[in-house]
Amino acid sequence: MNPAYSASRRHFLRNTACGLGQVALASMLGQTAAASSALDNPLAARDPMIKPTAKRVIFLWMMGGPSAVDTFDYKPELQKRSGDKVKFWNSRYREFRDEKVYGSPWNFHHYGQTGHRVSDLFPHMGQVVDDLCFVQSMHTEGVAHGPASLFMHTGSTNLIRPSMGAWVSYGLGTENDNLPSFMTISAPATKGGPRLYGPAFLPAHHQGTMIGRADMPAKDARIPHLQNPDFSMMEQRHKLDFLQEINQSQYARLGKHESDLDAVIGSYELAFKMQRHAPELLDLTEESEATRKLYGIDEKETDDYGRQCLMARRMAEAGVRFIQVNYSDNKATPMWDQHSKLHLHEQHAKATDKPVAALIKDLKARGLLEDTLVIWGGEFGRTPYSQNGDGRDHNPRGFTMFMAGGGVKAGYVHGATDEFGFQAVQDKVHMHDLHATMLHALGLDHEKLTFRYAGRDFRLTDVHGRVVKELFA
């Protein structure tokens, strides 16, 4: 290496406010925030507003809308009256219609200490029911996938609003200076696409960083542009050092008063650290055979979602604030969307049951479940009446989601639907309420987490939302 060059590199390190040398040495996995906000990092960790019960969220999105009455919401009346014609409100046409009650083709069994009933679709999740907190009275807005997916992610069916992950990033920043605060694994391009993890009018750095994408095998999931195939790591470092040297001289000439330029220099160092460390985060070969097995990795049906869930656990460990794991695709009728052939629910159950249960067990075993809030669910549920003979239509009026960890009660069931499982009737929880509750767990008051845009203070929950206090232990 050219000696004159090295000298100036030392000079550079000594003279920047960033202290980049030290930061670059720190290991990424495990390094948690607070300490090094030497870089003027817009994602620096911020204190919560109220006492939090969770530090981060893992959101498991079941795209397409799994049926509640075939999974967690057992309804004897539905079974009994299967085949009967009953009047139901049709959300698509906004009128009451006669529909044919369609009993669940699956059997339900009691599981765990709590004895909660779970259908044969989810035997693995059955084993962890005592750790779950069910909300069986969910209701939401939007009858089609696009609007309902946007509503679930942004609190609006149509208007342009920041995604919940972006709100959380905005509210709390990152726990790990080497990684983005919000990551989304295998996100779909449809039904809202990037708006599901977009920042809308929040600052751009709160946008979710995409890892892989729907329809791409999770084993190929990467962060874009992390590697340059044309240059070796040494050549890259050499190039970066030269770049930073001319940046320094340009910075000096244009004026040290421009903090923006300081940030440019910092962004290159952070990028270089990500080049070194982010691949480590996604590298599942570091995990023990037992762990890989637990998640169903290398098994045909579960390999994909298993990898996603395991990556999520590694991200949680590394301090990523909001992690979304998408069970999704780019089709017009996505994943759980069985308008006919309800039996295809089996395929989706098979793909997700073991990985999700593994995630709960694994987080628990590592003590991470205590401060990680796991949320599972679809953008809506499905009707208890049949469609096309052997399918079910979308049902935003009553469905089940569950949470786990992060301060919510374990082995608890909140709310209920009517005798058919069609409409939430008791202790109803609207999607806005779920958002308010999630923010509350993170120590954020949903009425105070606001951002001023176009002359108005916006919130994730708009002017709605109620914290469901009953869910907390």
């Binding site: 060059y5 609007p147 946007l150 208007l159 001319i246 330029l261 952070l270 780019n330 109803k428």
Partner: protein, 773 residues
Amino acid sequence: MGLCALACSHALNANELSAEQLHFFEERIRPVLVTHCYECHSVEADKGKGGLYLDSRLGLIQGGDSGSSLSLGNPEDSLLIEAIAYDNPDLEMPPEEPLPDHVVEDFKQWVAMGAPDPRESTVALPRQEGVDYDSFRDHWAYRPIERPATPEVKDADWPVSEIDHFILARLESEGLQPAGVAEPGVLLRRIFMDLVGLPPSVEQQKEFEADPSEERLEAIVDELLGSREFGERWGRHWLDMVRFAESTGGGRSMRMPEAWRYRDYVIRSFATGKPLDQMIREQIAGDLLPYDSVEQRREQLIATGFLVLGPHNYELQDKELLRMEIVDEQIDTIGQAFMAMTVGCARCHNHMFDPISHDDYFAMAAILRSTHSSEYGNVNNWVERPLPRDEPMTAEQQAEYEQWENDVQALRDKFAENTKGETLKKIGGDIIKKAIKEGPPHHETAMAVRDAEDAGDYHINIRGDVHNLGKPVQRGFLTIASSNPRPEIPEGESGRLQLANWVVSEENPLTSRVMANRIWQYLFGHGIVRSPANFGGMGEEPSHPELLDWLAHDLQQEGWSAQAMIRKIVLSSTYQQSSQPRPEALEQDPDNFLLARQSLRRMEAESIRDSMLHLAGTLEPFEGGPTFSSKNGSEYNYKFNHPVRSVYLPVLRNRVEGLLSAFDFANPNMVATDRAVSTVPAQALFLMNSEFVSEQSREAARRLLEAETEPSDRVGMAFREAFGRDPEAAELEASLAFIDSFPRERTTPESEVETWAAFQQALFASIDFRYVP
């Protein structure tokens, strides 16, 4: 008065209630109200959701936004009963869960009894008041525009234009002086980047440095202002503002294959100097304007694509909601983009901070509701219209076309005769298929609007709920900015023409201020008002209100010519200052509100990309035309590999090209008048590792190797091209040291290219390339 009369006529005072009635209320009714309703509907909790207060008899009778909650004696006609019985899926109270059946029965019985209630209201119930327009007339944005006198200055040598007088007078009053003049090389690069978004060539640089005279500069500016590239650069600013995109976004994002026509219209309009007021008029109501030629008619129809381009969730199943969401999006865009008014805030209630009433909103909404801008179907579609042809059709073609017109009309008639949602969706689907998917034979089409068949006045939507109609509202404009806010609109017309004329009329003080501010913003990095889409109470105050008025007035006087205004500004001393602050200016005014210097600006995403292509010699000439080769195809897998100027890359709402998206490209879902300037690692990763930048670096390196043989000459050329200046001695030394020590054997021509490509890539990634001083 009316309220009092109503309340008084039912004034059963507590003394007049029978013991039995009182008992019934206290035992069966009051506890339920207190437990289940007061939280959201009581004066005491300071909450009157939906305008409804249930903690007094008056409140119950007066009701909320949806009207009185009670019809005394008639439980079946009482809104309160409907809500608690969960009879109306849009109005279910309490929202968490229904009350037990026996409680609902109690309420029915109570209403049947005449709702005996001893609770007298001692406080006035909060009500939504009208807007007091007069109290707002003094706000700077609503004042009529008058040409202010040019202020005196002490240093008479500095100003070269009236603009400079305004700036200098203020600086002098603050005890500051302007920065020095920018060096010729810096100034030339700034002007090129600002006006056309591409850097000057080395020859142009040297020529100007040899003769940096005012005449020479004027000639350069005039040449740039008359170029196609000017239209591409400034057209893009406009496209930001009008949330231009070529797919719908939303849930099921669909490509809009004809949207390019609107983009090209905007570029053409700027390149040819079309007045801004005419552009606005054409975009709101081009289909209704008179025309002299086929070309003009085509142009004006295409312009209305502005209204149709919005991001919509066409699969929303509640079709009335969808219709009003589209209207809302149009109002919001017109309001923010042209008048810097957040009109959309008044959809549910009077604007909280600005003089925009709920009525004003629905006066405008009714105009746009009278405009056909989406075809109804299970999944709706935007509207397309046939464009008139230059050449007449043959008789046979004419017959085919007429057949198509008849078929479409027949479907529309059938549509009009039906009311049932399901059938409508089916017929709507047929219309979409015939009118848009198949399209008219022998005609091109454009996204464009037309007046709706049910054009007319409409109603307020109570609390913005499209299914809850309130009082009727006459069509019209914002009261604060018009002399006649509710104009006469002829039968059968939408009122869009009147709307368009009002937006750019002299009585409207907003639009010319907004346009002047925006031009200023793109030449200084910030507007005189730093909230370019909000001139209301929650927006920023202008730093130089007189200057803003002078510019707005001048814009009107000069026939709304963007070029004339840009020329004036660029040739001013204010614009030509160095971006290096004097210490006292930095101390006193770090954010540069007073303009004691130019501001250092990050290049926009397009300029970064276009400049790379330009310097790599790979930029292909393209002057508009269709963007997509096919109508369909996934957004996700779209390959943005055309080496054309960025303004011509498809703007897909669910996927923006990589470099553009990394460098804060305008969010195509919303009025974007002020792009973010973020600095994040994703940008660094893109510049250091992406295939695109590597490829351009390699091509630029090849050009260096071909043009020069001496390494120092190559470095010199690279600095000139990328930064518009020669390298300093230390930079030259560091560059040569980098080439020498690069850890790759330079034994083949390819490895030589790779080494220089690494060097070039570092220049592209560096501050001097990314910023314009």
